[in-house]
Symmetry: C2
Subunit: 270 residues, 2 copies
């Protein structure tokens, strides 16, 4: 097989298997090529990945060695994309009663979800993360896309007890401003004890949901090493129950009556 | 830029933008290369994609022309992967009360979700699909992965009325064997009228949920062009409320008391 063909096959492999260490022998067999040829291929791919701003190929030498694609995306490149999302979100028809913003179309668009996920992966690249945790429903696509790039499982916290998955841990928590008591449930076998987890959610107002998730995760002796929300409502900033988190966009000056809303870049870009 | 570098950049682009027509001029500018060079690159990539069994690059000539990656995966290659999933699912500890099977670990693993999604995309490749529809919660990751490969939006039907997205259409439906009356809700702006949709779900017993989804989708004048469930329970086959669907694995002879379960390849492989 020619080098040009191998480069295409290898690029496809690594893009589809981020954060997964692969021994060189797998590729020498698959493409019937010498170790030195594959090694040169990987150098070319690494340089081009860096040039394209999509990460790097990490090489680990020795008997158990191999190569691994580490996704890492340029923060500068994401600014323009997030600004476009801010612009889309400022559409007055998105203002919903109760201080919510209609975002289901954006979070239902796989390309947009992928762009948002890339930013979170870049933001948390220094953390060691064993699992991505979210709460149903709207953040699930996002959490899945992040987990895919990190090569870790997604764990979904449920909102009601109608869960058919054996024994579960549940907590009651007080939702932010409305002070309503709500429930969250996580089946025991869905998350091993003592994991490093990253919380991903679509929208944060006062932060009651994230606070609830953190309490529930304590029951699993999990260490929350990062909290990432796509959008935060700045108007609720003074009542915020969560201290450490990053947001990608910030919603402010929302006026439900006049259908007015401002959307700017979030805390990750400050 | 050398051809080898361009091939890496182009492969990355197409793998991340399935089903998206891109004009050649975008690439000639991006890689500062002539149209004929890029055109040769695309021929090489097409041949290698076919060789790797991951689809093809479709070329459209003329002023509005360009190239588009059409994902299509070998059915034979998926057999081995689905058989591995069957083997994992036969673990007796997965048998849950009520005739359910514990699958959250598999559906929370992004690589497995990706493999399952590839099979659905291959199964439905002759259909024209405008959106992928699922119902919360466990099928969402799967629906998102399918939608990503098809380059269409995901639409998530909710199970309760606590939806903060403006006016909604809701229906009551009778869940399969338990004959319980349940609710499904879809905000009006989440799905335009008259779309061709494909339904994706994780598990089907009698099929009450899918029947409910089809009824709700009728209110949106949607045409259901495909129904794909990852697992179906064969023991409920005689009471099945849905006729046309494909399943990838089939669960049978489940005995909750003795923790016994058989899992074999589903209808797509018959």
């Amino acid at each position: 097989m020619k080098r040009s063909d191998r480069l295409i096959g290898l690029t496809n492999y690594f893009i589809n298997h981020p954060q997964e260490l692969m021994q060189l022998s797998y590729f020498t067999e698959r493409y019937d090529a010498s170790k030195s040829s594959i090694s040169e291929d990987l150098d070319i791919i690494h340089d081009m990945f860096v040039h394209e701003g999509i990460g790097s190929l990490e090489r680990i030498s020795g008997a158990a060695g191999g190569a691994q694609y580490i996704p890492f995306f340029s923060k500068e490149q994401s600014v323009e994309k997030m600004k476009q999302l801010c612009y889309k979100l400022e559409d007055p028809s998105r203002v919903l009663p109760g201080g919510y913003v209609y975002m289901s179309d954006l979070l239902g668009d796989p390309r947009i979800v992928q762009e948002i996920a890339k930013v979170f992966v870049t933001a948390f690249h220094e953390q060691s993360i064993d699992a991505v945790v979210t709460v149903e429903t709207k953040g699930i696509s996002l959490a899945y896309a992040v987990a895919n790039l990190l090569h870790v499982p997604v764990v979904i916290i449920r909102r009601n007890m109608r869960v058919t998955e054996g024994s579960s841990v549940s907590i009651n928590y007080v939702s932010g401003r409305s002070q309503r008591i709500q429930t969250m449930v996580l089946p025991k076998r869905n998350l091993k004890e003592g994991m490093n987890v990253c919380i991903i959610d679509d929208f944060m107002k006062v932060g009651g949901t994230v606070t609830g998730m953190i309490s529930l995760l304590e029951e699993f002796k999990a260490k929350v090493v990062g909290v990432g929300v796509f959008a935060e409502a700045e108007d609720d900033e003074n009542e915020r129950m969560v201290d450490e988190y990053i947001s990608l966009v910030k919603v402010s000056n929302m006026n439900v009556k006049n259908k007015q809303i401002d959307v700017t870049l979030g805390s990750f870009y400050q």
